[in-house]
Subunit: 310 residues, 6 copies
């Protein structure tokens, strides 16, 4: 299904690697990460769909220092890229990610600097806040982010996927909130987002306090993922199809939906309704309503409807 | 099980259609909506149980302009009606509802008035707020509201049912968050309430961003509905039985329970406990506690216990 | 599996009954509650694990006046006990608990004092607040609390278990939110915590408004419990094993995890992340990170790692 | 300064009494309240300015049952009246208001109905909520409300003025939080709004707990009022002038300012900024910015600038 | 004005020192603190008025370890004491208080225990939370607390007075937020309450960041205190008179007022109104409304009205 | 008092202009802004004190496009600059600032781009959010920021100063919330922060709705500024002295104080206390407490105490 056109065919990178006018139809990049990135491979497998791959397969996509910085740059660009309407995140190689790269990060984590405990603390706080931002950018990105997990998703991987909007996995996937095993309370998102992502608090607590593995079936029945696929190929095809469905719809509607769903999570229903009404003061003044309504009445596919960029 | 006594047997309507002293035992109204309503048929199928039917079967119960206004009037009256202790909502005809009546509503939605974009926005906001109120009245009504869904429940239908307290459906029911298909972020409750109604955030996002259908089995496993019945007759019988169980209990206990469950949804546990204690300052001073306790000790059914009206 | 060493072998009680230096390896106490308690039997079945048994088996562990007070004392001591890292709660005899002991409590509940309705209300509020504290102490205790339910868990029992961190049950267990049957809105935690503990709001409302029983399978599929065991022996063995896993990990990591999971429940994601970063300013300065990381690298079990007391 | 044209010259009342096209230039209505009102006299003393007078001078503008209902009707109409951009509230006769009309209200307040204390409580809550709404409508009205106080402002009068946006008074004015004198905690706004209206918490508490009078000078220095005038004529002239200044400005800017100031009071700065940005998505798309900017550059008065109605 | 009857005339202490039936008419206690307290002298200078004196005059009422514990015990007892309706706090000797007793507290503050920085932190948090409680009990006490300050009020003294309801001072009083001078951010209430107690944020920040002294005049104009008296005798007479005014009013009204004023501080206006209505469901059912209304109509002093105890 | 050493003596700029090791003792920069800035002049008039001058005197320090960007860069650098402990902001030339530079900004504000009203709105929101950040960086900067205002402070100037911690002004200063005059609701901070900065809500509303000028005396009595100086020289000397006082104190204490004061503003007292205790878990482990306590006991000035950098 996916015709592979090598990512390096893109004419230029840096500031504009995402806004390439030629649609790059690939879900995988065989040679390695996309410059200027060293840990991420970014491609455009279908129109308006951006694919971000964790791409250190020999290191099991472990999250090293570069990764934390590159994710922020990557998603900041995606947020601005008018040619992208939806994002798919996956992992290259044998698994989604082995989590934090302890060897690479040890200096930061185990030997924070400072003249006394308070000054060490001050630096620790800045560091943690910076790492939190790495996954919060996914949430702040107005385009929906699908994540497709195969094999292991450990530690920082769980922090990452809970910040995404839609979670898919393969039958062989497993998830592990690992932090308690290395003497930490998970501090870059899992403890904050996991309880708002799945419905069983007893399960959340068990996972976070015992660091036990959770396999695909329990991930599905508990609601962590909304679909399980037999293998990675099927999952990537499914993810791309779902991404295509989203990309075909009005970006005004889609991005407003994501943003208000996140707002609702953190507010009362009454606050959410008020914000929604204020949001739609302008957003209902879009041509997209008329275009979409017309497509519905004419029973045409939305994929044939042309919406302005956003 | 349900002896059908035509709704029109009610002696008078308007202000007092709900407080009829004769118990009207019907779950369906064959001839049409209950004046002064044109889109709703209201009846009393069992003591203390009010049945509100969406009743434009030829139009698939599509929500037209009249509907939005009538729901508010209807539930405001129910809130005041001391003879009603529980409400059942269902749809007449082939399905629960096809959602918004685009033809009837198009003027409001597609051509809002105003001299400039800000003034159009001002009018849009008032309109959206008014429509939001249509479903918020269900939540504000202190009596529990059960909703029984058969066939399709589309768009505005999902907004409606998420504002109800208990959701039941038939095996052939399906649900669709439709708004994104017509260029809108759902703004009358779905985006605010659905994530607080079911436990899988990935599923909520998928439904809202792709507008895909969800069938009864997934609705049950995800927790959107708490019971699935083989067909509509079985469901209505089940709904009436459950309504009867609730109606038999102390209205002080039942309505206090609904109100505090909603309060808890929007507050921290500590805030919820404080409000509950303040609420029960007066509510524990009811005779109903003594009456109920006595029934328990004498192993009598609560259906034989007479509670004062509330 | 559990060698029974009688609780009375403990050298002294009162202030120090929990910090006994000899490890008491028992999950049950045959003779009765642990003085000074009359409703609770407290033991140490494994290192760093405290077992709290509801222990009025002849009265089906019904919650009498003494119980409400003793729970507070018991968990306050556990909170301070540096030798305890995790708690297991269970019920002695035929069932977990029949709930409130109506006979014993009737005076308080049915005949509150006061010269007028306002003064009665004032006393009611103090009483309710005091009872709420009985279960809130479980939540305030920084050590994780597992609860293992067999047979019936009725009324106050549901209030109790929703305040625990991890819920397990036997195949024959059932749960009942009973309060509405005796004319009350549940006011010591169920209405506040149950909706944040399981993902289906429709189910929560149904349980609270109809007082119907929920059996083990539905408790599992709805997420109320995260594991179901065939019988009580298997469950207690499973609970002890899980408790052992938690007790083996860094108490700085474990208790910080519990505390931040509870904080997150009641705050937005952004607030939760900020608090977490502030919390870890000091907590990441623990030796436990180094010790744990070393164990991971040396592939040693954490059970062989010695962490300082907390 | 104020040419008195009798309010009765208005061609018709009811639905349209506010939208009279002829500007009614009067600040006082000598004959009595404006039908259909019995306690309020409504007039249009200047273009786009609505004057609402508490008008039961023989009863010292005491708040009787009719008053609580009429205020809601009056401000609901004002909210919809596109010819009104600002409101001035004052009292007819010797003083602003003596507060609640104990004689007229005694039935409601002293003998609430209900079969037991819980059912009485239920009715009390509905009553209090209804009375709270009487002053909350002032806050919900998007047009700024100035209140001009002369003589006494007692009890319910303080609840009323704290819901207004700008407070002015005469040198002989005094204010009294009276409720504690009749055995009540003030429940229709004073305890909620007064602490957010003036800066000294010690003073707020003193006033509310002792019911002592506060005179104009302390009202000014504490910030309750922002201006003091020597007498009522000067105050009404000043109020009309200030109202004229506000009425001359863009209604999009003015009403957005009021609404966001109230939003900010009840939210964190970050929440307020987010809401403001969302609000201005549409509101900055008004022609009024261009018109206003042009007037500024041409150094013309805004009174000569014609803004579309809102 | 104040007839001095020595506090030691009270028949018994301990559990019942507050509920003495003979009215103790004294504002000062010449010999020293009231057993079992070593830092506080408690007396009853007028009916229903409790006077709590900081009483280590030779140590300038510096806050030593005993003080932090005794304040909690003292206010817990006052909260339960039905004979007390209002509290006055003042300082014995030359000044109100010199703040924390650095010598006595140094061990706790400068040498917290723990095997690593995280475990030290754990103990620090418990300590700070315990000290915070010392002043929070004033706020939790439902009876209004007036504080009368003469001379210096330094460091912990400011934490204390901001937790009181009404602040009075002498002309020679001065206030100093001292913590920044000893390397601390004030953590037992000043930084949390001072900004909600006075209206000028610039002043709050200046005081907290520079530790400069603020004298009586600025304390009055900024709203920290609501009254300034020429000397201590005049202030104590004024405080007693104000306390008498409060004590004469319905305790249902007075304590409900305090509680709702504090609730309002921490909630939006809408939340505050909702809580108030729920609170008054029961509280308006008091006889005190009728008794108070009757006194008003008969123009009798409330001091002659007998209200039941609360 | 201020020896003028020209800012250009600093060896290098850009990344390191702030961390110059030679103390630059100047409060004014005669030649113009500090490269790379074109609208700001940055200097170090005393040890650990950074002076940021709005520096477009010929344009009355009007805020042009460059200004909005440079403020963010400038304060981001200051946040990281360990040699800076306190900041003073002032305006060069005749006045503090004339506010927004309408000519330079007109394109952005009056002609936002987009294919329909929704897409214009999307761009407007990003723009407003970016401008909000310009002043929020002042608040996020952990070092206290004093602002010294002379002459006019108009429009955006008020947004700026309300984000500062301490406000000072000259006798000839005046303030004007100008936005309503150009058809806008002030959206970069004034409506959100002004009501939390001064105590009189009536005054806030009057200023924001009428755009009238407020002079120094009212600014002082209302609490907007905490000190008024006769002229600019006196004010700058006073500002520098106050900055020196703050710079001499422990940076751990000072910056923790600022951060917690801001946290408290946006949270309940209970939340603020909890955060404070968590913050001080690490911060009380600083050497600065011991150093400061020692200085106090030895009655030495803190200016002689050497604290480690933060």
């Amino acid at each position: 299904m996916l015709s592979v056109i090598c990512r390096s065919a893109l004419p230029k990178y840096g500031r504009s690697w995402l806004s390439a006018q030629v649609a790059v139809r690939t879900m995988s990049s065989s040679e390695g990460p996309s410059p200027p990135f060293t840990t991420l491979a970014v491609s455009r497998p279908a129109e308006a769909v951006t694919h971000v791959q964790l791409h250190r397969p020999k290191k099991l996509n472990a999250m090293n220092k570069a990764f934390w910085r590159e994710m922020v740059e990557c998603f900041n660009e995606i947020s601005e890229d008018q040619d992208c309407r939806v994002v798919v995140v996956s992992g290259a190689g044998k698994m989604f990610t082995a989590g934090i790269d302890l060897m690479d990060m040890a200096g930061d984590m185990l030997q924070p600097e400072g003249d006394d405990a308070a000054r060490v603390a001050w630096n620790v706080r800045k560091l943690v806040a910076k790492y939190q931002e790495t996954f919060s950018v996914i949430e702040k990105c107005p385009k929906p982010v699908l994540v497709a997990v195969h094999g292991a998703c450990i530690g920082g991987g769980v922090d990452l996927i809970t910040a995404c909007d839609i979670r898919l996995c393969t039958q062989d996937a497993w998830f592990q909130v690992k932090e308690v095993d290395i003497g930490l309370a998970a501090d870059v998102g899992t403890l904050q987002r996991l309880p708002k992502v799945i419905g069983s608090r007893s399960l959340v607590n068990e996972l976070a306090l015992t660091a036990r593995k959770m396999y695909a079936d329990e991930a599905k029945s508990s609601g962590l993922v909304s679909r399980v696929f037999p293998d990675k190929d099927a999952m990537m095809a499914g993810a791309l199809e779902m991404a295509g469905e989203i990309a075909a719809r009005s970006p005004v509607a889609v991005q407003g939906t994501k943003l208000n769903l996140i707002y609702s999570r953190d507010h009362s229903v009454a606050e959410g309704l008020d914000y929604m009404a204020t949001w739609n003061m302008s957003m209902l003044q879009t041509q997209d309503v008329m275009k979409s309504a017309q497509a519905v009445m004419e029973k045409k596919s939305l994929k044939e409807t042309l919406f302005s960029k956003l």
